[in-house]
Amino acid sequence: MPIRSKTYCESYHEDIKLLNTIWSKCWMGLFIVGMLVLPYATDTYIVYLVNLSCIAIVAALGLNILTGFTGQISLGHAAFLAIGAYAAALLANMGMPFWITLPAAGLVSATAGILVGIPCLRLKGLYLAMATMSFGVMVEYVLITWDGLTGGARGMYAPEVSVFGRALDTDESMYYFLISVSAVMIIIAKNILRTRVGRAFIAVRDRDIAAEVMGVNLTGYKVMAFALSSFYAGVAGGMYAYVMGHIHPEHFTLMSSVEYMAMIIIGGLGSILGSIFGAIFIVVVPEFIKLFSQAVESVIPFMQGRYDDEWNIAVFGLLIMLFLIFEPGGLNAIWQRIKTGFKNWPFTY
């Protein structure tokens, strides 16, 4: 990553600092202030979209740790979200507060992740994709069949979150809760990935056999990646249960796993910022498609009332293909390019 000129790093510690220049601190401060005043400046609808994005960001971070950083393809991410969501809902129905349910959801999910990760250690590439996919299908089946625990096809209700005895019943009050949870998760991910663990993950991704020769414990780090990824998925599932208030096996199908995959591909594999961009993108794009199809409807009568979820999925598919062909680095690469352009102006590089 290019660093602004006249920034001197004298130690490794300085080099890997998260905010290494005064300007990046200023921008971050401005951004935080902006996020805090957002609900006062916009309407409920935007706030609702930000809430959904927060959940998607945590989930996408998890998948990116496993797939983007460690290079283990997972098509069963939604299953881990489901486990987290049901765990959180069950605990919350017993009257547990959120600061127990969310970490617990993460831990339950991480346990499941370890249980799946250990037997999957031998698998690579598309074999791993198949294994995780079939795990996803099996979890979906269990959710529908195990009526006594999960409510089966009727789904399950989750109570509202209460923080310091105050129930968060509106989108605005949920907003602060969700952005703080996802901010914490982002900071944790940033910190894990700039330490030894993160570098080991990247080494496993780039050349696993070479990494092992260099002294990276393949087994340990692969299982750790699975555990971390499913911990994030579990927390995201818990957040999802709280926001939606009602969870159903249909929210956690193979299709939603593919949707999370779309997030990290469009955002940028192996990049924290990329997961954030991708998650926001996938949440916001359907709204634009809806607006667009409404605009088209008034011009072409044939399109009248033709809009449904199918269009979103078609667009996701198209976007996955286009990004993989034309911009494999995703939105993050585009962003870095623009940023570098500004930093080095008036020089081209």
Partner: protein, 293 residues
């Protein structure tokens, strides 16, 4: 008797799985990629056949070859537009691009054809064949004959034909294959074309046996276990895997449904898939990949 009944219908379903699995194996053998959009190829081919027969009034015996040509072309076009730009990219990207293609085609199918069921005009007599106590429908008989004859053809093709050997070489190592004078662009286009033709056959067969709707594309996902069980690069493996999964699925559905409750049939293939991947990831007839740094 109940057992025999389950066995026969399992074999019947299994031969269709085998046909689908063969499409997967062909692409894997030729290009080293699993094509997640195989199910969509099946769905599109079934709809092409449906419209040729009902809308244009083409007789069945002519409609099938036309469908096969159309889906072969579709395969070649897909390869040119989507897969060709990915030549030399990591497996992950190619797998993901076929997943993208799959959800794109499926939802476009949903938009164009809607989600209701179509009734495919059945070309065979409705009265099933009776062989002693065994009852077998004409559709199933034909799909069995078809998949076994295809197996023989492809087996010989990969063993002796120059093109078939070129395809295997390409799957093994693209760079070396290029150095050996194999035109890998041609190999890619042909592989996808042939695989989509097989998908077309499977599509016509499935549309006859099951109902025709957009959900037909999900059948291919149920055929994954067959491919893995047989080994990703083995044509006989695809047949055996397909039959085994078909039989297993029917047996599990027949015996376990009463105990656990519905839906066992749909999830059994995936449980088997998971187990096979744990125990013998390269399947019964697949070759183990040896890796060097």
């Amino acid at each position: 008797m109940y057992f025999l009944e389950l066995l026969i219908s399992g074999i019947a379903v299994g031969s269709l799985y085998a046909l689908i699995a063969m499409g997967f194996v062909l692409i894997y053998k030729g290009t080293g990629v699993i094509n997640f959009a195989q199910g969509e190829a099946i769905m599109v081919a079934a709809f092409i056949a449906y419209y040729l027969i009902t809308y244009f009034g083409v007789p069945f015996w002519l409609a099938v070859p036309l469908t096969l040509v159309a889906s072969g072309l579709l395969g070649a076009i897909t390869e040119r537009l989507v897969i060709r730009p990915m030549l030399g990219e990591p497996v992950f990207s190619v797998v993901m691009i076929t997943i993208g293609l799959s959800i794109f085609l499926r939802s476009m199918g949903g938009i164009v054809f809607g989600h209701h069921n179509y009734i495919f005009p059945n070309p065979f007599p409705i009265e099933p064949l009776h062989m002693g106590e065994i009852v077998l429908s004409h559709n199933h008989l034909w799909s069995m004959i078809l998949s076994f004859s295809l197996m023989v053809i492809f087996f010989l093709f990969f063993k002796f034909a120059r093109l078939g050997l070129g395809m295997r070489a390409t799957a093994n190592d693209q760079d070396t294959a290029t150095l050996m004078g194999i035109n890998i662009k041609k190999v890619f286009a042909l592989t996808w074309g042939i695989s989509f033709v097989v998908a077309g056959l499977a599509g016509v067969g499935l549309a006859n046996v099951m109902v025709l709707n957009v959900g037909l594309s999900f059948v291919a996902i149920s055929a994954f276990p067959a491919v893995i069980l047989g080994g990703l690069e083995s044509i006989p493996g695809a047949i055996i895997g397909g039959l085994a999964i078909g039989i297993l699925e029917n047996m599990a559905g027949g015996y376990l449904d009463q105990i656990i409750g519905g839906g066992v049939k749909d999830v059994t293939p995936f449980a088997v898939l998971f187990l096979v991947l744990m125990i013998k990831p390269y399947g019964l007839f697949g070759t183990k990949e040896v890796e060097r740094v």
